[in-house]
């Protein structure tokens, strides 16, 4: 039985939109977050309908969580309240593809794979590479700021957004940015919204800056005996005047998962440095040649060469999560970032986390030219302690780091059982200055004073 406020909400939305199938109770169990299941699921088809849903939810005092592909469901805090899941599944169409201007305008609910399938035949790409691209929506990728290996080439996911249409909790709608690549007209609202985890507004439409795909992309991979050697070589590679598509360092656990996974990719180990370059043929051969020279000088072994098709497969596999046992409901995912020379410390912290947790199997990967480190822990025994693993990772990453001068190391619990997420600082916000958190609270209060949108889900349980 739905409480009266839910009924009132549903009938108000129906009266506003005339759409009988917009609100449903069916299948709401599939939208659970941290053990909380919404009563209703809203699936609006238009920007205007999203605004109506939000306005009516705010009136009824209901909490709404925007929902894309559900790929962040094991991250963030479980919402404090959760009445309605607002799915963008029906906002998934192409609005405009301006090939000449390298611009695509799409509904926020379009999946990353669908966007690729529109642009790639035209030789263009938005360069988005979150995990699970066939489920992850472009809206979710931007709102959770999921940037993968290609960030070294194209920048963060948020850098690709030219224009954004959003609906606010009170039902008003805004458009930020324009279809231009250079824009300093007013505040950079796109950047504020990107990475806001659905706590400020619901994004309904996105315009992406596209890039021309390189004529040819190839990858190379070599094995190193230690993390220090692999990361050291990656640092040298980064300092060369080359322009990689991605530079990744993966450990033996990740190599094993890649070999055993659906991609069936074989990489040299125990620590593998892999890098891809994209260019016109002449330039590509030169870049690859120089990368190979460096690998040799640095003592890299077992050089593997990946020609275009294999390189693309490898890129997809590296951008994805390891899957398999690391997909287990008790598995953990941690992330941190820092200076390039801190990466070996992060790798050591991951190893000590696996031990301190009482027996986890470990896989780790780093965007080695961007200083971003991720690791996945899968329980290898009954008696694991996720909290001990997380704390060991956090302390290990931060050991010796100077919080002054912007040197704080931010450590995030990217995916974990809700019980662990409920008892720690999931986003690593304990390393932020407290006035910064206060600023965030004030911005949230302006956008969503009633706490309608994803209450409690983001940093400091905003």
């Amino acid at each position: 039985m739905s409480p009266p406020s839910l009924d009132k909400f549903a009938s108000a939305v129906l009266a506003d939109t005339g759409e009988h199938d917009l609100i449903t109770e069916t299948g709401s169990a599939g939208y659970g977050l941290g053990g909380k299941v919404p009563n209703l699921v809203a699936q609006p088809k238009t920007h205007e309908a999203v605004a109506r849903v939000l306005a009516r939810a705010s009136e009824a005092g209901l909490a709404v969580v925007p929902w894309g592909g559900g790929t962040s469901r094991r991250g963030g805090y479980p919402p404090a309240r959760y009445d309605v899941a607002l799915s963008t599944v029906r906002l998934s169409g192409l609005v405009e593809f301006l090939r000449e201007d390298l611009t695509a305008v799409v509904g926020a609910g379009m999946t990353v794979s669908s966007l690729d399938s529109l642009t790639v035949p035209e030789g263009q790409t938005a360069g988005l590479d979150p995990p699970h691209p066939d489920r992850a929506t472009v809206g979710g990728t931007i709102i959770a700021d999921r940037s993968g290996p290609m960030r070294v080439r194209f920048g963060r996911a948020r850098d690709r957004v030219m224009r954004m249409r959003v609906a606010l909790a009170d039902g008003s709608t805004h458009t930020y940015g324009a279809l231009v690549v250079k824009n300093v007209t007013g505040y950079d609202m796109n950047r504020l919204l990107a990475g806001s985890w659905g706590t400020l507004a619901v994004v309904t439409e996105l315009a992406f800056r596209l890039y021309k795909n390189p004529e040819r992309v190839e990858a190379r991979a070599v094995g190193f005996p230690s993390a220090a050697a692999a990361f050291g070589a990656a640092r040298k590679l980064t300092r060369m005047p080359l322009s990689p598509m991605w530079v990744e360092v993966v450990d033996a656990g990740r190599i094993a998962a890649l070999r055993g996974g659906s991609a069936g990719m074989a990489l040299p180990g125990p620590w593998c440095l892999a890098a891809a370059y994209g260019d016109f043929r002449e330039g590509l051969m030169e870049q690859l040649g120089r990368a190979e020279d460096l690998f040799g000088k640095e003592g890299g072994a077992e050089l593997h060469r990946f020609h275009p098709e294999e390189a693309a497969r490898l890129a997809r596999a590296l951008a994805d999560s390891p899957g398999g046992e690391f997909n287990d409901s008790n598995a953990l995912e941690f992330q941190t970032s820092g200076r390039l020379d801190q990466l070996p410390r992060f790798a050591a912290a991951a190893a000590s986390a696996a031990r301190a947790g009482g027996g986890y199997r470990l896989a780790s990967a780093a965007h080695a030219a961007s200083g971003v480190f991720r690791c996945w822990l899968s329980p290898a025994s009954e008696n694991v302690s996720p909290l001990a693993a997380w704390e060991a990772f956090r302390e290990g990453c931060r050991a010796g780091a100077d919080r002054k001068n912007g040197r704080a190391v931010h450590v995030r619990l990217s995916a974990a059982p809700a019980s662990l997420r409920d008892e720690t600082d999931v986003f690593g916000e304990d390393a932020l200055d407290s006035p910064v958190i206060e600023l965030m609270r004030r911005l949230k209060a302006e956008y969503d004073p009633q706490g309608t949108l994803s209450p409690g889900r983001f940093v400091a349980r905003i």
């Binding site: 201007d101 231009v180 390189p214």
Partner: protein, 481 residues
């Protein structure tokens, strides 16, 4: 707090030598590179550290006096024009490169470091700071952060915001906070990204960590000419669509070429309707294929000439004309007003034709010299500021130009910022709820209203009336961009 008490407190905060308040001294600082609006500060303070800035901010907060940050004063939108009677915080002394970390490709600098000084320091070691506003010989990295400045090489390397990792800022409460970090992933809303380009209205920046990039190994510069501006614009689009992203693509129209050739012999053909300067960079062996692509596309679009700089000297010669373009306008008019509307690349030819029409309607020549690769225009209204009323008419003409950019799907500003200059046109760009939300964001972050008031948003209190006679961007012969 009275004025003399304020001055005393400021002196106690930063030292007697670094506080000025004499009327004559104040006049030096009453405008930035947008000379049409002026505001005489009540005091000029030159802090040397974050602590100084925090102390000054606390004093001004207590005294309820506006605070305006100023780097080198090269802003073209009035961002550094002081609110009358306010305290102008000049970052000249905060010019230290605190640390260069070559291992991690980071540099930590004070905000008063002149843009090119950082690259001068790091280039011999193989790295540089990529954002290069045309004023990079003078402008400061703090000012660049406030305005999210662009430059010719942003086409390939991105804007200032893409190169700032972290900032130390002083809030209007005087609190010092860190935004961003050495690492890319920072929890919460992207306040670093949100503060960059906030034009001094959110906080005062006192330290900035920027990324360095490896110097390109090879650079090739070429000059192509066209008898039709549309052909030149198509060439620009085609080059980008081919995937050959040059480091820079600068387009100059007929009037600009005429002016340049009048004051210096850059060797540009005088009969060309458009001159396109293209710079490629990358590995030396990559240059050949890129060059071939650019040449082929230029020829396909009917270029009338294609010249490749064979050496450093020739390269400098090709760039010289572009760099001196703004100064050269003096050969054809006493003053100019430089705007920076930006449009989708495919609309370039269309809006340029419209600018011409607008110019004719006002009786002004409008020259164009701009970053064509990212649709970032610089239309210049040429006028005679000695004639009463002409300055006001030039501003009105500029406003028409900006409206044309918006109609073409573009924006008011690609790299100069809104400041005072374009605040009245903000209502053309944004609907009321969107614009109001931006104001609410400012008020949430900076509740006192003391930081750089009277900018960005059209308001009832006009702090900066137009100066009836006087150059706008600059005396035409006076400065180059």
């Amino acid at each position: 707090m009275g004025h003399s008490e304020l001055i005393e407190k400021l002196i106690s905060a930063v030292g007697e030598d670094y506080v000025h308040s004499a009327h004559e001294a104040m006049r030096t600082y009453d405008h930035d590179a947008l000379m049409i609006y002026k505001g005489e500060p009540g005091a000029v303070v030159l802090p040397s550290s974050t602590e100084d800035v925090s102390r000054v901010m606390r004093i001004c907060h207590e005294a309820d006096v506006p605070v305006i940050a100023r780097g080198a004063g090269t802003c073209l939108s009035g961002g550094a024009t002081p609110a009358p009677g306010g305290v102008l915080l000049v970052t000249t002394r905060m010019n230290r490169i605190i640390e260069v970390d070559y291992e991690n490709l980071l540099a930590r600098v004070q905000p008063g470091v002149i843009n090119i000084h950082l690259s001068d320091e790091t280039r011999p070691n193989g790295f540089h700071y990529a954002p290069d506003p045309s004023s990079q010989m003078a402008c400061t990295i703090g000012g660049n952060a406030a305005e999210n400045s662009g430059g010719a090489h942003c086409l390939k390397y991105g804007m200032t915001t893409n190169h700032i990792m972290a900032m130390t800022v002083v809030l209007s409460s005087g609190e010092v906070v860190q935004l961003g970090a050495d690492g890319e992933e920072v929890p919460g809303f992207d306040l670093r990204g949100f503060f960059v380009g906030s034009e001094g209205t959110f906080a005062l920046t006192t330290e900035i960590t920027v990324r360095l990039v490896p110097n390109p190994e090879g650079v090739r510069t070429m000059l192509t000419t066209f008898s039709d501006m549309g052909d030149a614009c198509r060439t620009v689009s085609d080059i980008i669509a081919a995937g050959a992203v040059p480091a820079a693509m600068e387009l100059m129209d007929r009037y600009t070429v005429e002016a340049i050739e009048k004051v210096m012999k850059a060797g540009y053909p005088q009969d060309a309707a458009a001159v396109l300067l293209i710079e490629l960079d990358g590995l030396v062996p990559s240059m050949r294929s890129l060059e071939a692509i650019v040449r082929e596309i230029s020829e396909k679009n009917g270029c009338t000439s294609f010249r490749l700089a064979e050496n450093e000297k020739e390269r400098d010669a090709l760039w010289m004309g572009r760099k001196k373009a703004f100064g050269a306008f003096g050969a054809i008019a006493p003053a100019y007003y430089c705007l920076d509307g930006t449009v989708p690349r495919s609309k370039l030819a269309e809006v340029l034709a419209e600018f011409d029409e607008i110019g004719k309607r006002f009786g002004f020549i409008i020259t164009n010299v701009f970053h064509a690769g990212d649709g970032s225009l610089h239309p210049n209204v040429l006028f005679d500021d000695r004639v009463p009323g002409e300055t006001v008419r030039a501003v009105a003409c500029g406003s028409e130009i900006l409206r044309a950019c918006i109609r073409a799907g573009g924006v008011l500003s690609g790299e100069h910022g809104i400041g005072i200059e374009k605040m009245n046109e903000m209502v053309e760009q944004f609907d009321e709820p969107t614009l109001k939300m931006m104001e609410r964001m400012r008020d949430a972050i900076e509740p006192t209203g003391l930081l750089n008031p009277g900018k960005i948003f059209p308001g009832e209190n006009v702090l900066f009336p137009i100066v009836e006679s006087g150059a706008i961007s600059a005396r035409a012969t006076g400065m180059s961009k």
